[in-house]
Amino acid sequence: MAEIEKFLADSNTLWVLMGTILLGLSSGVIGSFAFLRKRGLMGDVLSHAALPGICLAFMLTGSKNPFFFLIGATVTGILASLAIHAITRYSRIKEDTALGLTLSVFFGIGIVFLTQVQHSDQGNQSGLDKFLFGQSASLVGEDVWVMGGVAISLLLFSLLFFKEFKILCFDPGFGRSLGFPIGILDTVLMIMLVVAVVIGLQAAGVVLVVALIITPAAAARYWTERLDVMLALSAVLGGLSGALGTVLSSLSFHLPTGPLIVMAATFVFVISMVFSPRRGLLAKAIRLARVRKQLARERVLQSLYERREQGDFGDVEAEALLHKSPMPPRRLRSALIFLQKNKWVRMYKRRGILHIRLTEEGSVQAYDTVLRQRMTEVWMMHESEIGGSIRDREDGMVADHIPPDIFDPLWNLLLRHGMEPKWNPESPAAPLREGGISS
């Protein structure tokens, strides 16, 4: 507690904290747009391209006022983005190459300028270095005022043009047809990105500002499908990382603030990647396991059914099942145990060999499963004639449910292909069971 009190009492730390939080907020929002436009690496390029601008501003004005640096860096940032645009537009060079090329050439020019400044009488270019590597611990009130003003105007701008930017991110072609000035909007967004990068430079340095732009946005993307939620979340995550990094840095070991902010942001990103409910790796793994289990049960039922369809009513050995539809024995076992629990199969051992027998209930189930599988098959073959969308789930999986209105045409197609299930456990005379198609 004493440390926290000491922390709050230190007005300098408070300034730094405010600065990094504002920075996280604004770059989180702008970064979301950049992320959605697949321009994440643009932050990298712009932060390198700021160097010649900063040097030029210093050479021209002779002062180390962050405001002049901002203007200089913005100008060269815009030049860099124009260069990238021209290279990709007028030659066959792809965007990634154009990015790397512009980044290194602009930075090279910056270094040449930097040595010029060093060799000139103006001397004392140490402040320029600071600007590149970031010294958030040395932020003072004046810097934070500038940063705060810029950050808040960036946020206001994004709110004001929210609809326009949204259409720019998701469907620029459609936006153009609606009469939105897409080219101008893109430029405006680029300028905002430049400004966000430049105000970040002072606190975090060239490399780390890239993380502030992209990492919170990438993390936020995991949690939502809506742009407004994503922007808010990305801003919060960015601000949180900023705060976390600053607090950690001031509490312990005198570690540098910028890298700690990046570590915090990366931590948030990894958590999001693993644990987010729909897109997260864990959720995906669970879904995959569930689908695999379901598939294993269906395949067992199918194999058992097909034997009966071919007129073999004897019990089946587990080995034969594995032979017919190969799967890990463990998965087969758990599928069999599930089926037995539902009383769909009976298992017994004879002479040490596991035998499996379909029960009556299980036969009905197996018939349903096979019917659904084969209907899905013909549905896929004749998707254009039948209509309906076979991939109705968001994850692109095939529908596990046949809509009743296309049941009859599908049955006719089955007959045409000779694929109809030929053994009906209920009454061999009436093969069609209306509506009994569910898993």
């Binding site: 994440g40 066959r92 060079i93 790397g100 050439v105 930075f107 090279g108 270094i111 990438a218 890298p259």
Partner: protein, 296 residues
């Protein structure tokens, strides 16, 4: 060897080996990886320094190359888990770089590890950092290190040239033909890491990143053949190193910066006047085509 020659030779070697590998990076749309690797190796350098306790080149080279590979591995695995390309690259290299800086500030306060010098080496100091073998001075260390890295990439790419070529242009076909695409990918990444690390200890990260992209982009505009592209890229790299050194003398500016600017100027020339793809050339051709029917 005079100082100027040594510097130019080092620059040319760096440019040649980076330009050579850069062609494959460009063709595989991975030009930004050079930049990512050059930042991500920092923790490797620091750890090697902490473990070995010295500023010897070899441990640092190994540490950095290992981190370069880890970086590409992380990027690849993020991508295969559905993270979009630009985010995968940015998240990985900023994370690794931050670890590096934190390690530096944690441990190297006691010992002297000059970040600027390790990461952003200065090519002007190359002639003084010489290597001695059995008591004999065998010339600047940088030339040996970069030269060996270059030789290695030449040998590896030469041995598997067909595989590299197919993987660069059509990874799906390569996979269908049974070429181990992922192995070739990591082989290339290993070479890029090694070359990056070997070079930038002596010449600085910026020159390496520039030489990985700029000369090969120039070459890409000048030819449609991989063999020629490799050759042109190497030549353009060497040329920009020589021109850059001249520029640096003329303006009394940073040598690495000037070499980068020279490479950039060569690119602009190719961009405008390449006989195949130049902006100006194409405009001329179009005008000639438009007026041709009237003459006949």
């Amino acid at each position: 060897m005079s100082m100027a020659w040594t510097i130019m030779l080092t620059g040319a070697l760096v440019a040649a080996s980076c330009g050579f590998l850069g062609c494959f990076l460009i063709l595989r749309h991975m030009a930004m990886l050079g930049d990512a690797i050059s930042h991500a190796v920092l923790p490797g350098i620091v750890i090697a320094f902490l473990v070995s306790g010295s500023r010897d080149s070899l441990p640092m080279l190994i540490g950095a190359a290992a981190l370069g590979l880890i970086c590409t591995f992380l990027i690849q695995s993020l991508r295969s888990r559905g993270v979009q390309n630009d985010a995968a690259i940015s998240v990985t290299f900023t994370f690794l770089f931050s670890i590096g800086i934190i390690l530096v500030s944690l441990f190297t306060r006691q010992v002297d590890l000059d970040l600027d010098c390790v990461l952003y080496g200065e090519i002007a100091y190359v002639p003084w950092d010489t290597l001695s073998l059995f008591g004999n001075d065998i010339g600047p260390k940088a030339i040996w290190v970069v030269g060996i890295a270059f030789l290695l990439s030449l040998i590896v790419v030469g041995l598997f040239f067909k595989e590299f070529k197919i993987v660069s242009f059509d990874p799906h076909m390569a996979a269908a033909l049974g070429i181990p695409v992922l192995l070739i990918h990591y082989l290339l990444m290993g070479l890029v890491s090694l070359t990056t690390v070997a070079s930038f200890e002596s010449v600085g990260a910026i020159l390496v990143v520039a030489m990985l992209t700029v000369p090969s982009a120039t070459a890409y505009l000048l030819t449609d053949q991989l063999e020629r592209m490799l050759l042109i890229s190497v030549v353009a790299g060497v040329l920009s190193s020589v021109l850059g050194y001249g520029l640096a003398l003329l303006f009394d500016a940073s040598i690495a910066g000037s070499m980068t600017v020279a490479a950039g100027s060569l690119f602009v020339l190719a961009f405008l006047f390449s006989p195949l793809h130049g902006v100006v050339t194409r405009r001329l051709i179009r005008r000639r085509l438009r007026t041709a029917p009237e003459q006949s």
